[in-house]
Symmetry: D2
Subunit: 430 residues, 4 copies
């Protein structure tokens, strides 16, 4: 297997931190044992956990106002896979990559699959794109795609999704994620009902072509790029879609796609209860679909989402098998650093949720002891589980401190020298 | 039939406005005719339209900080019915009253029904109350009602709903509206899934006892009185309830119960499309469940909701038969004046939606002519339909200018003399 | 003066609508007279009113996901001025254009000024751009501009603003509008206090170079492009800036730059009261800085803003002289049509505010007659003032129905033939 | 000094936890030492820190829908002081109580002061109440108080504030907190400018009577009890007030009084920078002014607020001396437990902010290393500082685990037996 970061750098980095980590792990183990928790069992679960990385995440993102690229931007999916391999090597938490078509389209799928294998990466859910026009495309998506009033445009969008499935089959993917920007900017522009009927008809055509062992994930979003109405605007509509399509259809929850103040963990619980939670696009946000680094704004909210997931896992909820993926826009950081940190944040929330005293919690809930129920969650959240995460990484040949190891490796400077600088772009779209 | 306002006052008031109204109606008819619209047909529809008044709406509302009562507060449901009769006499748009149990509980239901008949009022949906404790109640709803962890408390809440149905049957009502405040104030306080399972079980027990010709309306609300999670928090959960319960179960939409920025008219469209729109609690809001007078904050939003309703009515959407009710808190106005004005605002939105050029709109939607689609709605909304509403009222023996007629009648001073002043209350709940 | 639309087309269009307009104007005059309002006086004020058009508004806008250009996109500021001239010719409500530097930078300012004169357009406030990197720029604005931690970058941003002033002086502009995207995406990324100190220092350098008869407008915005904190995030900070800078500094209010639910008309009132209202960027929004067409989402809110403006105008508030400009992103419409319609919407809100019965309103406010105060505003808002606007346009040689006249003229097809199609862009910025 | 909880109970509770605490404190000290932090120095600061408790907080709160009292509700301010003394005895973090007039009005101020002394409690800021009508009050606050259109009503509100100052002087308080509910429920109901002028005039009269060594805190709030506009709606208006009044006037920040998504820590920074931060009402919220327990919903936000406070403290910001108070509504918990837990949460955020590596942070900020700046804060936040807080309590004769000690003491059952049960109330205010 090709390793992007030299093991000598990594070993030296780990060596400098190993003793302190051992002490911290022991001390934490002692404290957890007092609470009846076996630290090694938690570590084993954390070590087995992974979150997929989006191929587009390793490039610098931007806004409609501007994009400010960083050095060494990946030029194509092969470069992107190498960056993803760095993330996986150091964190040991991101074994799969999620592709975006047509951005990651290649002529030789076999070469792509081989590259992934060589880097130890598999291919997660495929993502279609009918929210922008590819060069030379016959019909524009300016006024919609799967819900467009014109049947030829809808057909084109359906075909594109089918092509994504075909590519995914070649790469070993088992799921298709469909997010559309379809909607309207003016009251009256679109007939809500007819648009949704058209969307459902199109999705049924896609669904019909889905292999038996695949799942299809639909993703809701409140607004942007449409600013008055969006066809798949919330989890209610998303649930209706999954219900209309059938047993292979599930709802994808992106943490930044909801109205202000919405209780997202409750939506997660409802979708689990009705067997339609497909998975997540993890990120964080303060205002809208900010696509900030996971856990950087409201880490307790992330924990509360994982509290629902571990609750479902613990009681072996029927049909519970969500896919986990990061989906962020890295506008001001090195994308590799952001994705490593975010993957660790997801793992941290998982670890914290694992050490919730669920028996005590259930008792407090039954007795309506609101304060102690809250404290039970807070106690788990307050626990600094970093020694667990770091030990899991170390034992899996990753880094105790991935960002430090990455910086020590000089990887960014190396690829900056190899990959030519790209223009900024975005500045004329206001 | 007993008339609360003397016809001589009403006639005098109308006489002073009749000529101007005739001219305005003619001039508007001329303008509408140019757009291919028959003003008399619109007037006929408006004249036939009614919205129910909530019995509690004729008392002065308040907040957790204070309640500032006005003069002549109704002392009981009989007083309330008289106030409601004033509203109906002058607006001719509020033929039914919606009761709230136990607030409107009486020992003699026959007398109550008779009083309604004498005043020309029928009884709309019954409203149960399991969000506050009635004196002497065996089990408290402090920690929930239909979803409470304790089965005896749930049973009590179920029985209360069944009692509401019994009362409603005696009065000629055909629907039960269920809104619960159940939820939690702390993460962890409640297990979302188990609480919803308990809620559904309780509601199934209520549903099972529903007469064949009744409907049951469940009402979602984002927050308040619970401030972290609410069991029936949004239309997605509300839809699941209606689906789980069966064909007599429908979703009620209160305009003030959504997250900030949410597109409510789209939710209305979805519920119509999936045959689960039960009806409305009309009001307006700027921040939360402000319960302000309908149309006082965002009249265009109200129009857009009615645009969906008329769209469904026009295409005779399957299963479309929503109930219309006002639900407001009148903290700084004479409740009778607010309810009259709000009933007229609802009628206004309906009239404006009726004169939308739907054929042109459909064409613009098909061609993605967003600007002209928007202008088609705006043109209807901009039309001052007051002459239509006023003429419909006049021809139905109501008032051209209900507030002016009401003030001229001296009704408030009269009841202030008859009904003793009540204390303010509310001041200690912070 | 060069006319972009042939007068024969315009005359024919107007001829077909003139009789109906005359009747409608008379009928409206009759109704207004009954309320003690002289329709001709209102018309005169409306006719004298103008709103500036942003040069960038005549191009198609987009989002970070995609931009879908329309036919005949303007290639440069000369093309843009021609499009602006169409808007002014037909609406007679947009006599000035606001430029954006460097987007509208030219080598020959004299030619630009002459072109404006020939088209009957003057130059409104200059807009600087330090939120994106121009090709070849020495220092990047990736991490801020006027508040950047690096003094050379701040100096560059200051110089750019000074250059904008110089260009504006040559063109007859009298104001500089400064909006920066400076902020942060992570808690901790920026020290709020130091960043604001640096911003103020930079702005003081710009202010020092401002000609005596110029004003400087600073614009606040809650978020985007920065997603955790923004240096000039709200009107409170904006007020502090204007206060720190001095008497030529004022606050600019963009209707889409506030937190959800915020009462914008109240902010307008506060800024007027404290003599710091500089002007407006008009648009509409439902979720964030959606930059939708003015009045398309919440026309009553627009009216309430104008209600404050007319209130201040009526009482001749000290220091009250706001600048009016549209600032919208036209993603799915012909930008010329959107700007014409929006200019008319602004005029409509002004006309509606002019016919508010201010004496009655003051009385109701004094007596706390909330309902009648509200009805006083609603009565004005409900009045269809289109005949006033259309007559004002007609008498100023504009179009009774600008969009219809524009479509009849074939202008878009003509420029589409002359101006080569442009690429979409935007698709890689997610 | 009177101790409400017997020392034998407390000692037994502490004894059972002391060994584990010693180990945890040592282990944490070891980890902090590695980061260059002296745990004892942090502990000393935490031990010296206190937050005031609101007298009304020890009673059960409610909503406009209902209030569900708990057992042993305090009957008067003497009972309330005893409950507050429990909180202080166990947490050693709440040495002062903030009174609310007229709720806490007594005939014998000397007795009240003595009772406080006996319990080891001092008196923090006085709170006036002009948002509800006291029995027998001459003028109603239904339509406002300090901003009312009627001068006699304003005068009454001024006098009430002056009385609060007089009471406070007798008790040793040094500050007056003014929060008014003044505002409007309808567009047009209130003239924003005139209402604010009247408010300022009234406040100037209050300010004029303020003793030299007192401060006056004004508190802004977006909405509730007024639902369209609020006179002191945000920090911008609050700043204007403090500026207009003079050097003894400061702004109070309640964490739940802002628009959705607003960056509160930034407002705190601005007020510090402009020397007008008066202090805090701590609580937490998810939707509006939910008045939930501090740190229960978004603990990271609380930490970010304290990060600003410690930043200001570290650089000895000019004029920086904020008052700290809890302000919560305990609807579903034992108020004593909630207040103890919340006081500890405030201390926790303070301790976490104290261990931020500020030198490293400043370096990352200077270099725009957004990721490491964020990680620097997250590292401090992730540290479980409970051993520091618990040791500080223990060394101050408080409880290692205050809630457990309180439950063991049987205090609630004791007062429930002494204090008669109270009615629920609130149920009629909808």
């Amino acid at each position: 297997m090709t390793l992007m970061i030299s093991t000598s750098v990594l070993d030296a980095e780990n060596a400098s931190r190993r003793d302190a980590l051992t002490r911290d792990y022991e001390s934490l183990g002692d404290r957890l044992a007092r609470r009846g928790i076996d630290i090694d069992a938690v570590k084993a679960k954390v070590a087995a956990y992974g979150v997929a990385v989006p191929s587009w995440g390793v490039g610098t993102g931007g806004t409609r106002f501007a994009r400010f690229p960083g050095p060494g931007e990946p030029r194509n999916i092969f470069d992107k896979l190498e960056d993803c391999a760095v993330i996986q090597q150091l964190t040991r938490a991101t074994p799969a990559v999620s592709l975006h078509i047509p951005w990651d389209k290649v002529s030789d799928l076999g070469a792509l699959k081989e590259k992934g294998s060589a880097l130890g990466l598999s291919f997660d859910a495929m993502n279609s794109n009918t929210f922008s026009d590819a060069p030379g495309q016959a019909h524009s998506y300016k006024f919609g795609s799967l819900s467009h009033t014109d049947s030829a445009t809808r057909r084109q969008a359906i075909e594109h999704n089918l092509e994504c499935v075909e590519i995914g089959k070649a790469l070993g993917s088992k799921a298709l994620t469909v997010w559309v920007g379809d909607g309207s900017n003016f009251p009256g522009q679109s007939n809500f009902t007819r648009a949704f009927e058209r969307y459902l008809d199109s999705m049924k055509a896609v669904y019909a072509a889905l292999p038996d062992d695949w799942r299809i994930f639909t993703e809701h979003k409140m607004f942007e790029p449409a600013f008055y109405s969006t066809v798949v605007q919330d989890w209610g509509t998303n649930y209706l879609i999954a219900q209309e399509l059938g047993p292979k259809a599930f709802c994808l929850v992106d943490l930044g796609h909801h109205a202000p103040n919405v209780n997202i963990e409750m939506i997660v619980a409802r979708l689990i209860q009705f067997k339609k939670l497909g998975g997540f696009h993890f990120n964080d946000s303060k205002y809208g679909d900010d696509d900030l680094d996971t856990g950087s704004i409201d880490p307790y909210r992330l924990f509360l989402v994982f509290n629902e997931l571990v609750d479902a896992e613990t009681r072996a909820a029927n049909g519970f098998d969500p896919a986990h993926m990061l989906d962020q826009s890295h506008n001001v950081t090195d994308p590799i650093e952001s994705l490593m940190t975010s993957a660790m944040e997801v793992g941290r929330a998982y670890a914290q949720a694992l050490i919730v005293d669920r028996k005590a919690l259930a008792g407090y809930q039954e007795e309506n002891d609101a304060l102690m129920a809250s404290e039970t969650l807070k106690t788990a959240f307050r626990t600094d589980v970093e020694p667990i995460l770091a030990t899991a990484r170390l034992e899996n040949d990753g880094a105790i401190a991935p960002v430090a190891a990455y910086r020590a490796s000089g990887y960014r400077a190396r690829v900056a020298a190899e990959r030519p600088a790209v223009a900024g772009g975005g500045g004329g779209i206001v």
